[in-house]
Amino acid sequence: MPSRTVLTDGDIDRAITRIAHEIVESNHGTKNLILLGIPTRGVQIADRIAQVIQRHYPDFDANASVGRLDITMYRDDLNLHPNRAVTETTIPAAGLDGAVVVLVDDVLYSGRTIRAALDALNAHGRPSVVRLAVLVDRGHRELPIRADFVGKNLPTSRDERIRVQLTENDGETCVVIES
Amino acid sequence: MATILIKNATLASGSVTDITIDGETITAVGTGLSATADTTIDATGLVALPGFVDLHTHLREPGFEGSETILTGSQSAAAGGFTAVHAMANTSPVQDTAGVVEQVMALGQEAGYVDVVPVGAVTVGLDGKQLAELGAMAASKARVRVFSDDGKCVSDPVLMRRALEYVKAFDGVIAQHAQEPRLTEGAQMNEGKVSAELGLTGWPAVAEESIIARDVLLAEHVGSRVHVCHLSTAGSVEIIRWAKAKGINVTAEVTPHHLLLTDELARSYDAVYKVNPPLRTQEDVLALREALVDGTIDIIATDHAPHPIESKDCEWQAAAFGMLGLEIAASVAQEVLIESGKSDWSRVAQVLSQNPAKIGRLEEQGQEIAAGSTANLVLIDPTAKRVIETSHSKSENNPYRGLTLPGAVKHTIYRGYATVTDGKLAAKGRN
């Protein structure tokens, strides 16, 4: 399958750094900030963002502020595919009530994953505000959902596939488009 | 009545011959017979045997006509090559009086496909408490000689002794359904490895064997003959073998299903495999086959037991016990005795015709194919292979469906009347 790398290791690094600063800027600081990664790679990206924030704002405790939100049971397409495995959900000890929750995912596409994530969030508390950070926005939204913080806008056609690789998961870090 | 000429039939001995029939009698057996006959049957390649006699059939009439009637059961029997069947007594009303057995015989004659010989109950109402009027039944028009409470065991040892003694007066025989009731309360299938996995209450082999052991000793003690129905275990075979070696006058039967099927089939929980006595293990099947070959077992008897759909299309525990058998008995006999290479067509004739006729004391059945004998014959194509699908029975509880079995009945001649021609059942009986 012909593929081309659209983001390199360095590109991704810089994008994550910029997103981290944008998050802190829009929140006027790190107070009440919670990052919830959507499995699998959203979790790793959330971790990376948190590490950057902590580097620049030592008051921010990355370990206590990052969680993972499994959205499998809130999906709207369960009856269209074979049964999916459910993975762990971890919510930071401080809870979500009144928190500034930033959902983090690797690719924003139809928007359905985020819709499911918003439903999943409901079960855990009432954030004061929910924002969305994604590494790649590839367009083709099927629902009125938009990201607040975007690493890179990558217009694609529907028959292309975007592959996000992260070292923690896949051995190397890059974003590849396959046609 | 009509005349029939059968050309080029192969007898059990292997010789090829012609047979002529006039009315109810065989008039000549020999080569090159050229008679003008109303019907000529080209029996080239077909094996001619005396018409089969079933010592154990359930015709369900009177009382359970939803499953089978004497007419439909007779038709199924004829299709299987039978010219006589013994109708078991567990009807409603029970065949325990001269009146009922005469009625059953009359209905059989009216149907006209086979000799329906009623079996008399041993005890009134099959209740196991009081002897039925065995003498009256023996003296009736039905001339009952075989008595059985089949479905239930004559478990009271004193009652069994009395019955064995009493029938000596008219050369009768008690056919015992060997099942110690206390050891088999709530039993659903063979007690063994499979029942332990399936959680179905087991029917242990010892419940059959202990009754047989008792009965052969009783028969010896009172000097009577005894017949054991549907032998199903290797242990039972050993007991019969021992008894015969001692000179005890015992005969034994085996069903087609016990010669072919095992309790592994119960894993499907499909109640078509639920039967009493139950399907056993492969070891039991092999022992029964060996016993049929070596003479320890005298006959094949079908225990044809039709049941309506609602009694089988349900959970195992709620289902009735029993399987069809009339139309595959000959094929199973061929499988066990011929295809195995272990015996021959003479043995087939013995186990399906001559021996059962002798046990039932039927003078016009199971005879040698010779001039002067009653014309009860079956012609089988031994090369045919049938995939078992439908049957002529009113019921459908057929465990052989989908199996391929050897041999096919091409013609059945009942007292000189062709009940089956070219594999097709005659539309009417002989009357």
Binding site: H81 | D313, Q317
Partner: protein
């Protein structure tokens, strides 16, 4: 891994599938610990609890599981059966199908009833065996395995694990116990070693196909095996009347779990019981209420495990 269509027997579960269900149950347990115990996952699905045998506890457990997944629940207490000439299993099933059941949870007095339902073609939906006669009770085995796993490895540390190398002793009427049968199968699938302790009359005469070591002496078995879990089965007094054992007194003395036997267990060993318990017969009150006892958590784990089973069977494309 091929999609599971029904859960009729513990044999339906490969090791991978069983661990998958246990792992999913961990997440479901998380839901059950929240303030709002609800997931939208089975919204719009209709699940029928078809109970031919009285069993309030199991039925409530399934009902809770179904409701927490937002399914619509119908409780069908079938009076009578083919045996007592009530409505036949076939007619009942076809009626439910006509009403549009996506899944049927069936508890029936006849062994093989669940399999009959699944193979008959009367119902299109998923069939879950909630106990068929003396044959199997697969969700009980799953919740038992889940309980053992959680206690052994800890909450949050169990995911992906089997029960390899653990020794489990099951005590009681094995012959008539669907719990024993399903557990023997599932525990072996998960890598545990199973032992039965019972009077000789209450063990199948031919247990060649059952993967368990059989012991008649409870104390000797405990000393020899040093089990990680002991599972007591409920004994029914009807068995005494059928001469399986002479008296309740003798049974509890020889095969009952009492303080002495409890003390003989290694530290941390689990004492389990599927419930309901006959306090004083197969288990003393002291033992039942000891820290080793997992009876209550088995109940709450039952809801989580049944949620996992329902999720696995129903949140999927229908084949």
């Amino acid at each position: 891994m091929s999609q599971l269509k029904h859960l009729l027997s513990a044999n339906d579960l490969s090791r991978e599938a069983a661990i998958g269900i246990l792992d999913t149950a961990e997440e479901m347990a998380g839901v059950n610990a929240r303030a709002i115990k609800k997931l939208p996952t089975l919204q719009g699905k209709t699940v029928v609890n078809l109970f031919f045998e009285d069993s309030t506890r199991t039925r409530i457990s399934f009902e809770l599981a179904e409701k927490r997944l937002s399914a619509d629940v119908i409780n069908f207490a079938a009076k009578g059966s083919s045996v007592s000439k009530g409505e036949s299993l076939k007619d009942t099933a076809q009626t439910l199908e006509a009403m549009g059941a996506d899944a049927v949870v069936i508890r029936h007095g006849a062994s093989g009833a669940a399999q009959k339902l699944a193979q008959s073609g009367w119902i299109e939906g998923a069939i879950i065996n909630a106990g068929d006669g003396t044959h199997e009770h697969p969700t009980q085995a799953l919740l038992d395995a889940f309980t053992i796993r959680r206690r052994t490895f800890g909450v949050g540390n169990s995911a992906g694990r089997g029960l390899d190398g653990l020794n489990v002793v099951i005590v009681g009427d094995v012959l008539h116990s669907r719990v024993a049968r399903s557990n023997a199968i599932l525990l072996n699938t998960l890598g545990a070693q199973v032992h039965f302790v019972a009077p000789p009359t209450l063990v199948p005469a031919n247990a060649a196909n059952i993967q368990a070591q059989i012991h008649y002496d409870f104390d000797a078995a405990l000393a020899e095996v040093q089990p990680d879990a002991v599972m007591m089965l409920r004994i029914q007094s009807e068995r005494m009347n059928a001469s399986y054992f002479p008296s309740e007194r003798e049974y509890s003395r020889v095969w009952g779990m009492d303080s002495t036997r409890l003390a003989a267990l290694k530290p941390g060993a689990l004492l389990m019981h599927p419930g309901p318990m006959n306090r004083g017969l197969e288990i003393t009150a002291v033992a039942a209420d000891s820290p080793n006892s997992t009876v209550l958590e088995q109940v709450s784990n039952g809801v989580s495990v049944r949620m996992a089973v329902l999720y696995t069977l129903l949140a999927t494309e229908r084949i």
